[in-house]
């Protein structure tokens, strides 16, 4: 019953988020601040992880191809497919559920504990619109961060491939161009938009409706991370089935 209640409360929160909008001059500042906190602030970790995971995918693929009949360009091909289809959109989103999600839950949860949300409500401000809506809009730029992740993942693969001596640069470039289907990138960005919405709203839900003190803020952050990850994995399955299946 608790799960059903939470699902209902989550959708009511989404509906409430669009009611009684905050003044645009204030909202604009909030969105810019959230773009800085959630997107720009995450670029470093996305770049670092993408570059090295791209490298690891390349090394793993190269080491597992010991049949001389399999062409060397397959290393680049496999790296491109893995990074664009799964690593950049899905696994980066799981990492972001930890980074961005805990930040959102703990910042909103702390505002709840310290009565800052009550202060907004007393002033007649729709606190959900004020707190959650700008984060949702800011995270609509998340595909940009994922595009950076895709580029650096493939670049990291190339660096590992060439400097590790697993194949030539020409083979790797041939591999990343082979059988390129632009719909795969569109599919990845569709997933990313959906994950961005999940990343903004599920952690906000757990932060906004938490009760208690500092300990509960920590617990809410953990719960938010678990549920955000679960929902991302499930939606990944559903979207993949719908778009590629």
């Amino acid at each position: 019953m608790t799960y059903l209640h939470n699902i209902g409360a989550y959708f009511l929160m989404i509906a409430e988020m669009f009611r009684k909008p905050t003044k645009w001059s204030v909202m604009r500042q909030l969105i810019l601040k959230d773009i800085d906190d959630l997107i720009i602030g995450s670029l470093g970790i996305i770049a670092f992880i993408s570059f090295f995971v791209g490298g690891v995918i390349t090394i793993q693929t190269a080491l597992n191809i010991d049949n001389p009949l399999i062409p060397k360009y397959l290393v680049g091909f496999a790296t491109r497919q893995s990074v664009i289809l799964e690593f950049a959109p899905t696994f980066t989103s799981i990492i972001m559920a930890g980074k961005v999600g805990s930040f959102i839950t703990s910042s909103i949860g702390t505002m709840r504990v310290t009565e800052q949300i009550d202060a907004l409500e007393v002033m007649g401000i729709n606190s959900l619109n004020y707190l959650v809506f700008p984060k949702t809009i800011a995270l609509m730029l998340y595909p940009f961060a994922i595009a950076v992740g895709m580029f650096l993942g493939i670049l990291g693969g190339m660096a590992a491939c060439v400097f590790g001596g697993y194949s030539t640069l020409a083979d790797y470039i041939l591999g990343i161009q082979t059988d390129f289907d632009s719909f795969h990138v569109i599919y990845a960005f569709i997933k990313t938009f959906v994950f961005a919405f999940v990343l903004a709203t599920i952690p906000s839900f757990y932060g906004y409706y938490m009760r208690g003190g500092a300990l509960e803020v920590g617990k809410a952050s953990t719960t938010a991370f678990v549920w955000t990850s679960v929902v991302i994995i499930l939606l990944n399955y559903v979207i993949t089935g719908m778009l590629l299946g």
Binding site: T22, V26, T114, E115, Q116, D118, E121, V122, M123, G124
Partner: protein, 255 residues
């Protein structure tokens, strides 16, 4: 003036407010007192519209809150200032930004007009040079004064304070009490303070509503509280030896 008639509020099976009827006068510091668990905070949150209640009415200068449309409620809330127990300052903003926040949300003032107004109210609460500090850099007393400045910056008609003295040393508590009373008198605000600080009761309780087990057990002022023989009030207010002596001295002086 705020009038409350037969207010009932429950949480599940727990009946918290059991039919409270009272009024809070304009230009006076009205105190709600009572033991922990007596329903003070629930009562205050009902007055603020943060809790919905099952029965009864709350009217602000004749306007019954539950009969107002959403936009009328929003307009009314813009006339309310609130000082929370923990100050509830927005910790991502500087002190000046906190004070300017209601102006930013509800007025069309230019940035310089807002800065002038923030400057004025911060001076009024004796914090002329705190503008650029973050709330975390301010002491508890300073945070309370900033919260008062934020509450009065938009010229509210109603000011609510939830235990404004909690966590403050006695000297700072008196400063805060006097500040609230001065502001109430100066701007003719209807001020409602939720407190269990007996110094506040004696100093600024121009009207006192005593709650016990969700009922109004007594109503009076800091003048009449010394003379009351209501056992619930005397048990609560004069529970310390110091206040027993103060009461005895007051009665002896006035006989």
């Amino acid at each position: 003036m705020i009038e409350v008639k037969d207010l009932h509020k429950s949480f599940g099976d727990a009946h918290i407010l059991k039919g409270i009827t009272t009024s809070f006068d304009k230009g006076k510091t009205n105190l709600i007192i009572g033991q922990s668990g007596s329903g003070k905070t629930v009562f205050l949150k009902c007055l603020l519209g943060l809790f919905e209640y099952e029965a009864g009415t709350i009217s602000y200068d004749g306007k019954i809150f539950s009969n107002l449309s959403e936009s009328e409620k929003r307009d009314l809330r813009a006339e309310i200032g609130m000082v929370f127990q923990g100050s509830a300052l927005f910790d991502s903003m500087t002190i000046a930004e906190n004070v300017m926040f209601p102006l930013q949300m509800f007025t069309k003032m230019s940035k310089s007009e807002m800065e002038d107004r923030a400057d004025f109210v911060l001076k009024r609460v004796n914090l002329p040079e705190a503008h650029n500090k973050m709330p975390s850099e301010a002491s508890g007393g300073m945070q309370k004064r900033v919260a008062i400045a934020r509450a009065i910056v938009n010229n509210p008609k109603y000011l609510f304070c939830d235990e404004p003295n909690s966590g403050l040393d006695p000297k700072t508590a008196i400063v805060i009490d006097n500040l609230i009373q001065e502001i109430t008198d100066e701007y003719q605000i209807t001020t409602v303070i939720n407190s269990h600080d007996m110094n506040s009761v004696m100093e600024i309780g121009e009207k006192i509503v005593f709650l016990k087990n969700g009922l109004k057990a007594w109503e009076g002022s800091n003048k009449t509280i010394f003379k009351t023989d209501n056992a619930s009030v005397t048990d609560f207010v004069y529970s310390s030896n110091l206040f027993k002596k103060v009461r005895k001295m007051y009665i002896e002086e006035n006989e």
